[in-house]
């Protein structure tokens, strides 16, 4: 039974957490791509920035979350989201918009966004230092231990407060986004612009407004994902660096420009990562007696070591793209 608990803790929960983070990141990338037709490399830095803002507000008003009975970073999240949305719009106005208006090729904007990544990472290090920080100031992270009502299960299922919030947030965000895109006028205008930007313009759709809404959505989602991840682990300036590849892999695997694809891709990459670093030896030990005597079960039996986790998204990317060049859900070819 303990083996099952181990599996739940290390695969089901970890995979769902990683998958949620990747899905939220990939949705942002996909939204930006479908409206502006370029791959936004600075997206992961919006995540770091959002978390940093939340940490800043948390440090300014430590313990204020207690008023509502929630962790302070959670209380400050809306502020962090707003700041990140502002940053995203600001970056667009200063860098990407002038380029779009000059009608440059998308690749030029992609490279510009790489520049923005480097700039943001530098700025974040300049102001926040290079060390890692806890998002909790004078508070502690809630950890839940669920004991299973079986005799053989002596170990509990462990899930943390930020993990639960992240999973709930992802659920709400996905449903909310769906309703927004299908029920509201602005949401439909976003889909229209993604479908056929010229016709959207000809129809009188305010494309500047659609672009702005896209950045607000992308910024808010990124800030939330960054904050939950930092709450669960810690905030480091290179957070974005570790997220960039998986979220791009997730967006591309799912089918670029396709929000549901981004969700599917995010969970695919998240679970593939956790499954490939999972120590399968643990699950094999209880069925040891089924194997012939001479078979030794090694102490660790994982597909790849944790250090090499980053190869997994690449591997999935290549396999899926060979099988389906436009992603799981038919996306737009970049």
């Amino acid at each position: 039974m303990n083996e099952l608990v181990f599996f739940i803790n290390n695969v089901v929960i970890s995979g769902t957490v990683a998958g949620s983070i990747y899905a939220i990141g990939a949705i942002g990338i996909t939204l930006v791509f479908s409206i502006m037709r370029f791959a936004h490399f600075a997206h992961a830095d919006l995540m770091t920035f959002g978390a940093l803002m939340v940490l800043m507000f948390t440090s300014l008003f430590p313990g204020s979350g207690a008023l509502l009975g929630i962790p302070t970073p959670l209380l400050m999240l809306p502020l962090g989201m707003a700041m990140t949305a502002f940053l995203a719009i600001g970056i667009d106005r200063t860098f990407y918009k002038p380029m779009r208006e000059h009608g440059v090729k998308p690749i030029v904007i992609v490279i510009a966004s790489l520049g923005v990544t480097l700039m943001l990472q530098g700025l974040i290090r300049l102001f926040a230092g290079t060390g890692s920080r806890s998002m909790y100031v004078g508070e502690s992270k809630g950890i839940y231990r669920l004991e299973l009502p079986f005799e053989l299960a002596s170990r509990p299922i462990v899930i943390t407060e930020p993990q639960i919030t992240l999973i709930l947030f992802t659920l709400v965000a996905v449903i909310g986004l769906h309703l927004f895109m299908h029920r509201t006028r602005t949401g439909k205008a976003m889909r229209a612009m993604s479908d056929n930007p010229d016709l959207a313009r000809v129809s009188g759709i305010n494309t500047d407004k659609v672009v702005m809404v896209t950045w607000i959505l992308a910024g808010c989602l990124a800030a939330a994902a960054g904050t939950f991840l930092s709450m669960d682990v810690s905030l480091t300036p290179d957070l974005s660096f570790h997220l960039l590849l998986p979220i791009f892999a997730a967006a591309i695997v799912g089918g670029v420009g396709h929000p549901y694809g981004a969700i599917a891709g995010g969970f695919l990459v998240g679970f593939a990562e956790t499954l490939s670093v999972f120590n399968w030896a643990v699950l094999l030990r209880p069925i040891r007696h089924w194997f012939p005597e001479w078979v030794e079960i090694p102490r660790t039996l994982a597909l790849v070591g944790t250090e090499y986790k980053i190869v997994v998204p690449f591997f999935i990317l290549v396999v899926v793209l060979v099988w389906r060049p436009t992603g799981i859900f038919k996306g737009k070819v970049i």
């Binding site: 439909k188 479908d195 056929n196 959207a200 000809v202 009188g204 305010n206 494309t207």
Partner: protein, 234 residues
């Protein structure tokens, strides 16, 4: 005063002049038809009027006011509608959503206009929940026209509305255009089915190499032996 008056329009793509001084005038009661060989600049002229192609010389007046190089969405507000030659629907969106996007600038009238468009194109009502990319060519053309009509424009520009349609469907579309015109909408359209189009035209423009070759009533152009010989296939 004409509804639309374009004089000596020059313009094109990226510095290359495709239009070399084109004149065109349309009144509220007119159906203007532009014909001419492929590559003559017919689509370019419509795009120039609708602010999608840079106009470098000449002027375009809407009810006497210059609209030269105005943004398309301003022109929608001024009562113009445009149906491009290709990619004139939102393929992943349903028929109804396509129509709603047509009324983007007038959200309050959406419900009323939807009813009107559905009674005008009953086929669309049946298909309203279907992604428009899954419709037949003729039905797509109706979606495209419906979308442009949602704002109740006073001037409608259509680029080859009957391209690729069977003769029966083509006649159906032309009948609809006449109806729309009777309801008080000035029409300017590009057509390859020149004979049938000129038959409903009050004004015809023959364009070649970015210049007006002939301008007259539809009927006169149809019966002009020069026009017939070179542009109407004998």
């Amino acid at each position: 005063m004409s509804l639309l008056n374009a004089t000596q329009v020059q313009g094109g793509y990226g510095g290359m002049n495709i239009l070399k001084g084109v004149d065109m005038a349309i009144d509220k009661e007119d159906i203007g038809v532009i014909v001419g060989p492929n590559g003559a600049g017919k689509s370019t002229m419509l795009k120039a009027i609708f602010g999608l192609v840079q106009v470098t010389d000449g002027d375009i007046l809407l009810r006497g006011e210059s609209i030269r190089n105005r943004q398309p969405n301003e022109l929608v507000h001024l009562g113009m509608g445009f149906i491009p030659q290709e990619k004139n629907i939102f393929p992943s969106m349903t028929v109804e959503e396509n129509l709603e996007m047509g009324a983007y600038i007038k959200p309050r009238t959406t419900a009323r206009m939807l009813e009107k468009i559905y009674s005008f194109f009953p086929d669309l009502k049946q298909k309203r929940k279907q992604p428009s990319g899954e419709l037949s060519g003729g039905q797509r053309q109706m979606v495209a026209m419906g979308r442009a009509l949602m704002t109740e424009p006073t001037l409608l520009l259509l680029d080859e509305p009957t391209a690729g349609l069977s003769p029966l469907y083509m006649q159906e579309i032309f009948d609809r255009i006449v109806e729309i015109n009777k309801a008080g909408v000035g029409i300017l359209m590009v057509e390859q089915n020149a004979k049938q189009a000129l038959a409903i035209a009050t004004k015809g423009f023959v364009l070649a190499s970015g210049q007006n070759l002939f301008t007259d009533t539809g009927e006169k152009l149809l019966n002009d032996p020069d026009v017939a010989k070179s542009f109407l296939g004998g």
